[in-house]
Subunit: 348 residues, 2 copies
């Protein structure tokens, strides 16, 4: 491995500067991504290992980030479980045409053999590892059971999440049966990704933050913990990112994960105090700051580095996925600012 | 005043049970509201004092809540400042047809004389006070400068708030000029509402939670504080509700407000510890829980009452506005549960 500072930082070991990567870094803001995307649809990109591996490497080449993350979508797992995934151009993100409604719907879902149903993801990982040739580590990922259940029950992203919440409050045992099935599927999927060559796993809990703290623990965090403890291996760090769930940071730091991702609504200095050295922290620049001029972006980076302070265990990233129309020069300015400004925080 | 437990609780004085009202309680979930709404459009309802006063009283009659809140919309203030407000049936909420883009756009806005430009709101207050005849107190309200600025710059509610954030990060002084102008307008508007008979004022900061803690203080909380300290009178309590800003609860409790509203992502027991007796707390049942059967709603109420614990300074409410298609019987069950279950917490 030529550059393993990302993996070192995940383990809170000494690095010469803070590593940086960007959530959704293989994406539409990159012209070379749009060049490929203009020829094929989103799902074809996900399911064609050559294309997925190619876009996985683009931000490494263009931005010089310290980790690659496979190009895929969290919804490929529910699809492999038996849900019908649809992407219509210009009609918002992917959605499920037959959202789950009843216990019988959930009963019908399978716990898929990932090598059989999601082999294209593992092929992407193998191709990307080969193409990376040890330049930077490769991250695999999965959606959290709560977040995937949201899409599976609502059909698509919603504002109020009333269908899943009605099920949660009225028939919690049905929802638990679904969450358990997703967790089992996610564990096998993560293990297959690691087997294929993923060197870290990030669990995305995009919607944990819409719950009360008690419900977050019962319906989201316990399933994430089950995944983390099941897939944990000494040499493959796990990152847990629960957007909007800063209220439960102390709890998240105690489920055995190596790294906790932070959105931008948390002060990373306070967060470091709260997690008491149990985990590394990843984040947390507001993605909207990348629309500002480069000197403002650098200021934002300096503030986050100063808030985290001296010492190890920080991976710089945005607090959420990068917006599709972010100017690419600004993204480069962000990466460069982290590389340049972080050095003093690691010399002591 | 026949029932002033809401006002007493705002001041953390002794009450025999916990008062309860519901954000957006004069709304579409009520059949008697829909009966009026079917005949006139939303803005006509807001600007016709007889109709606005009538729907203001409906939840008092139907649900037996302990406070009325005038039927209006936070966007009438920007409209009075010179923005063009449009409501098209079936095309989402109200929006501004010419969103603010430049310093010149902001320069053109006026600080309106509320009695001249928003007289219908003050007329609504006078009519509602007369019709209430001392049954329960009447709450007036205003949007926070940050939240109003969001709508004024984005044009309507958005997912990512990129226009206002770009202005905030790139040209903060322009945004501050706007926020200052809105704050001045809001102060005069609140004072006119109090003059007309509003017995409490709630400041709604729906979008404070999309900011970093530092930016929340600079761009939202300082303007709310300016309003609170300007309008403060010993007999008119102020409630500040910043949705999603639980990360700044300690700061919010220190701006001179009497009551802090909580959304459901905060544990109200922890919140009570954090605010250290400086303010009363209002909230915080997840509005989605009102889709569950009445016995589950009662369970949810019991949990919140138990978390807050014995003693004064709690006003029960939802953690956000009620959803428009909530079953009205469930809303009644919520109000009744608070009235019945809260008694023991006030006898000691």
């Amino acid at each position: 491995m030529q550059n393993d500072i990302f993996l070192q930082a995940c383990r809170r070991l000494h690095v010469h500067r803070t590593p940086v990567w960007i959530m959704r870094q293989a994406g539409r803001y990159l012209p070379e991504y749009r060049a490929i995307r203009s020829k094929v649809n989103f799902l074809t990109m996900c399911t064609t290992p050559e294309l997925a591996a190619e876009v996985t490497l683009q931000p490494v080449d263009t931005l010089g980030v310290d980790a690659a993350i496979i190009f895929s979508d969290i919804l490929v797992l529910p699809q492999a479980m038996g849900m019908k995934l649809i992407v219509e151009e210009g009609k918002g993100g992917p959605r499920f045409s037959e959202p789950l409604r009843t216990a019988a719907d959930i009963q019908k879902l399978i716990v898929p053999d990932p090598c059989q149903k999601l082999g294209y993801v593992m092929d992407t990982i193998r191709l990307a590892r080969k193409a990376l040739n040890g330049r930077v580590p490769l991250i695999g990922f999965v959606g959290s059971p709560w977040t995937l259940a949201n899409y599976m029950i609502e059909g698509r992203g919603t504002k109020d999440f009333l269908s899943i919440k009605t099920m949660m409050y009225s028939q919690p045992s049905i929802l638990h049966a679904l969450l358990d099935k997703i967790a089992q599927s996610a564990i096998q999927f993560c293990e297959a990704q690691i087997q294929a060559g993923a060197q870290a796993i990030q669990i995305f809990d995009t919607w944990g933050g819409i719950l009360t703290p008690d419900d977050f623990k019962e319906f989201s965090l316990r399933y994430i913990e089950h995944i983390v403890r099941s897939i944990k291996k000494p040499d493959v760090p796990v990152i847990v990112f629960c957007k909007g769930a800063g209220f439960s940071l102390k709890d998240i730091a105690e489920i055995g994960t190596d790294v906790v991702g932070l959105d931008w609504t948390i002060d990373i200095g306070n967060a470091r105090t709260i997690v008491e050295g149990k985990v590394a922290l990843q984040g947390n620049l507001d993605p909207a700051l990348l629309y500002a001029p480069p000197e403002k972006i650098r200021e934002g980076v300096k503030i986050i580095l100063a808030k985290y302070g001296k010492g190890e265990g920080h991976i710089c990233n945005l607090g959420h996925g990068i917006h599709p129309d972010t100017p690419v020069e600004h993204v480069k300015a962000f990466v460069l600012a982290v590389k340049e400004e972080s050095v003093p925080y690691h010399s002591y």
